[in-house]
Symmetry: D2
Subunit: 347 residues, 4 copies
């Protein structure tokens, strides 16, 4: 039985990490820590987590986190490095934050406002790479893993098979993604009030400035074996959870609909969580809410010379906390899908 | 390992029954049957149930349902009796429909349009009865159990402790409940279209005509040991799931706030799924969506001489499918909460 | 052309007041004032008010508000008296706040935390009173009018005809109302975040403590000619606007369905904004969003000995700003419905 | 006073046409016609249109529509030609359907399943064309006008200034648009049920097959003076109304952020309904719901070599019925914005 601490447990991501560990058969929740909410009962912060209601949030320090088999960090960016350094090298540390995702320090500096902390193994097991290997090969037995961002997870899983198969051009990828508002966290901002959000859509971080842009490019480049440039526009949708990423890329000359389908089919044939839908069905966020599953579909638009690939994920589950559990399973040698196979809640 | 068939598996209730059995450690899903959807893949009908996607819906007949340890019926009312009769007496039959809930044939005839089929054990384990016994005492080892309606579950759990404790008058109960639209099922009605439902609330079945009225009265009378009359108004709320039942009843003379709180505290002190909230906190449907949990709160309004008791449930989970699993556990001698303790999905 | 100033123009109520005056043929918007938002462009605070985008919010002071034919106050409670006193007796002042609604100073002191300011004419023209007179008779030519609260407007219009006609008992009224979240204003509270609100319902101010309770009682007592006691429970619904008030009261012995219908029919037969629906149709908030209209329906529940009367209003329109315009029209001698007859926006 | 008939008045588009004419100072609603709903009271079909509640829907025939100054058609595609032919050449006919939008018969045949009917003047007054002229120059005094589709309106207004100014490449436009579900009409389809729609997003018509694709290309080509190819993906969003179109196109070499902004600023400087937002603000559908206004914003993504231009419209208002009124105003010589300047309803 793994003893797992969760740091930053009072936010939406932290709460979701707890929800997944609550049902994990081989792990139990150790210390739960927070910043401003330290001292609160978990039941007051996450009323839906009934089995953990009487646990009390401790302060996020190296001391409270020490002595666990694994620590999951769900902290604001810029805070993970100090905590991770204080934990022993034998402790598995899974970071849900952005700090260790980018391998290019200059990309970090362009998009983030804290010092570059370096990079860890990137926790996207299903990332198809050229030559038939996948992201999971880099994760088995790892002690330090960076969980992908929610948009990069959806966008990468939508498009990477085409890059790994060599059928897509890398110089003109366009991604427009819609996210539920839990993706914006619990910060009290006027534009996140229910009265503003319900019944409304709007973009944000437009024009190549959203921080997930270089991470998406890094992933697609890893699949392609060459650089990829992305125009990425996130939008806020009137739903609590879920990401729908609509992704397009130009195809290489001679690419057929069959080639395209075969590339995606091959990439995900054996994946437990990524489901290429039957032709004619399209990803729908409601199908994956609360689950670690991903719906993917792709089609070739011959007129425009582009594939349109769409993925639906739960931003908090496969987009964050489910992925964290999946990475931990790989890190400690458990079956990858342990505790993760349940269905989502629909309708 | 119990082999469980699910009849009426293509509706919202049936799909939710499958979702709960998918995670049940001591049961596996046998035949899944439907009416008009027979022949379809489950993946086409309930895309969120990935582990069962390749199962094919068979026709709902006694033959397809025979040979299981248990059968869960999620059929339109009027259809359960014929199916149940054809199954052996040793098979556990759990009916999510209304057919066997009412002990009073004349109440059935007043509210329903099919012949009265009789009554089975009533599947509300937490129903507090006078003298400290509870509904679960009637369920252990039973072979035929009627799962309560969703509104009756919420309304009964909100008010019954006061009747069991003898602090409430039975002649003037008023209940107004809001339900998510999955409660109306998958029928294609114009008023259930998303564009009509979103951002709007409206009542229906007003004026003492909703079919759940006599069931609520039956339950509260069982707790009180004397007749109870209820004014019940259901409303449709712009959410997929969830019921919030706001229930009031006049208190007997001399009843104090302390008496009230103590009655409710005692009733649910040992219940795994019914949670009396801390004073000042109020039930919120989001806290129980996807779970078998129930939030309850009560307060005495001294000015009006009434208690206001509120309960939140997921209409498809504790309101239907979770209750079905809970009843089955009791029927076959498994721990009552087997497979049911997980948290809901929030936010 | 009336020159109208709006104080507290940066909140939801203030913005809605501006929206209604924008379309008023005999009024123009003069000074627009605010507290913390003074200095901002209106376009930054209410982006949907395109025609007023370049107006700048001034500070709310007597000086900025002086010199107008009318001033509409949309201030937090406790602030209206000082402003109104500074304005001349010839200026029409319409207060959207609570300060001058209650005629009973002790009721004010029980429910509010600021000193009692007295009472003004109560701005509910459609309030049916015993003997066939109505609220509007008290408003023509008035210089100081208190706009009713949103819940009292819906609740009163639902039930008052029965009290005016003498068919209802006044000692046991129960009202449960659902409101869109704009009713809670723009305050940045965690429970008002979109991710918390969407898909969820919860009650608040339960147990006879909500401030609108004495106002509802005052109105129903005015219709009845004798005291009325109300159990009032408000709930927060996942929609931006709208109130659905479900109201029940016991009927006097001998009251028939026909008596009931006739009482309601008579009360609203000539009202331009209050619509008693055809039997079988029920109020739906979507039908009145953005409009000054009210839908009302009533039915007698013979089993429970109660009428159930339901009203739907837009909390910001007929519930606040539309009513303010209606009151101003009466105060200055314009046709009551000037600028108010437009339909709402549906779906 | 124009006497205007509305054909197809029972659908969402038809109801919205009525809502706009209800407030038009120089028009009154004549015959209102429908297919299957003929014989119904308007109040039963569109309960929010209180002033027209007692009007009765007649059958859609040339006879019922004859004798009006103008006829607005809101019919399923394929039905407009027969009706329009039967009306005199002196009657203004405004078609909200697709039948007369495309000037290229082969594009029609590729995307639609009825015979090509020809093309009428295209009703997008704000369409910026090369050389500083605009779409309105083609509409003044016209007797037959085709109202643009909702997606084409949003997409065209977002991108056309760049094409008219010659700063965009036409060979690789990518548009992803989110629409409220009223855009799918009142058809009773399972995926449009509230329980399915709320909290969920999904694409449809993916891969270059949506019927609005050639219309968008036609508009952008008209602005560019040369062919434009578009990859267009529509998505269904959990809101009743509104379209958010996120549009990108590669810029010509040497294009600067200033050039881009100046092109858009110039195009819309004098437009009453199209508002280029301040830098840093982004279109939000809630700001335009219920109004004829359009929010537009654009930014240059230098990394990706693309502009991202976003537009928000109300699909039923500026996207359909508001545009119809605007076209009629131009056709008959009224000021273009007559009856159209009101603000939307927010929050």
């Amino acid at each position: 039985m793994l003893n797992v601490a969760v740091a930053g447990a009072s936010g939406y991501a932290g709460g979701e990490v707890l929800r997944w560990f609550e049902r994990h058969p081989d792990a139990r929740v150790g210390a739960v820590t927070a910043g401003g909410n330290a001292g609160s009962r978990l039941g007051a912060v996450h009323p839906h987590l009934f089995s953990l209601a009487d646990r009390v949030l401790e302060e996020t320090t190296v001391d409270t986190l020490r002595g666990h088999d694994a620590v999951v960090l769900a902290l604001p960016h810029g805070h993970s490095a100090a905590v991770a350094e204080g934990l022993g090298d034998d402790v598995v540390v899974i970071d849900c934050g952005a700090d260790f995702r980018l391998r290019d320090g200059s990309a970090w500096s362009t998009f983030y406002d804290t010092p570059y902390a370096g990079s860890w193994a990137y926790g996207l097991p299903e990332l198809p790479l050229r030559g038939g290997v996948s992201g999971r090969d880099t994760l088995v037995g790892e002690k330090r893993i960076a969980v992908p961002g929610c948009y990069p997870t959806a966008s990468t899983l939508a498009l990477a098979p085409g890059f790994a198969a060599g059928v897509l051009e890398g110089d003109d990828v366009v991604i427009v993604a819609a996210s539920g508002t839990s993706g914006a966290g619990k910060a009290l901002k006027p534009n996140l009030l229910g009265a503003e959000v319900m019944g409304s859509m709007s973009p944000y971080g437009v024009g190549g400035v959203h921080r997930h842009t270089p991470e998406i490019e890094q992933n697609l480049a890893a699949a392609a074996g060459s650089p990829v440039t992305v125009s990425f526009t996130p939008t806020l949708a009137p739903m609590p959870r879920g990401i729908l990423a609509t992704c397009t890329a130009r195809v290489r000359p001679g690419t057929t609909a069959d080639t395209v389908r075969e590339a995606w089919r091959t990439a995900y044939a054996d994946e437990p969580f990524v489901h290429l839908l039957e032709p004619g069905s399209w990803p729908t966020t409601a199908h994956v809410i609360g689950s670690n599953h991903v719906e993917v579909q792709v089609v070739l638009d011959g007129r425009a010379g582009r594939v349109v690939a769409v993925a639906a994920v739960d931003n908090l589950a496969k987009g964050t906390a489910g992925a964290a559990v999946q990475c931990l399973n790989l890190a400690v040698g458990l079956p990858e899908s342990t505790g993760l196979l349940g269905s989502g809640v629909a309708p």
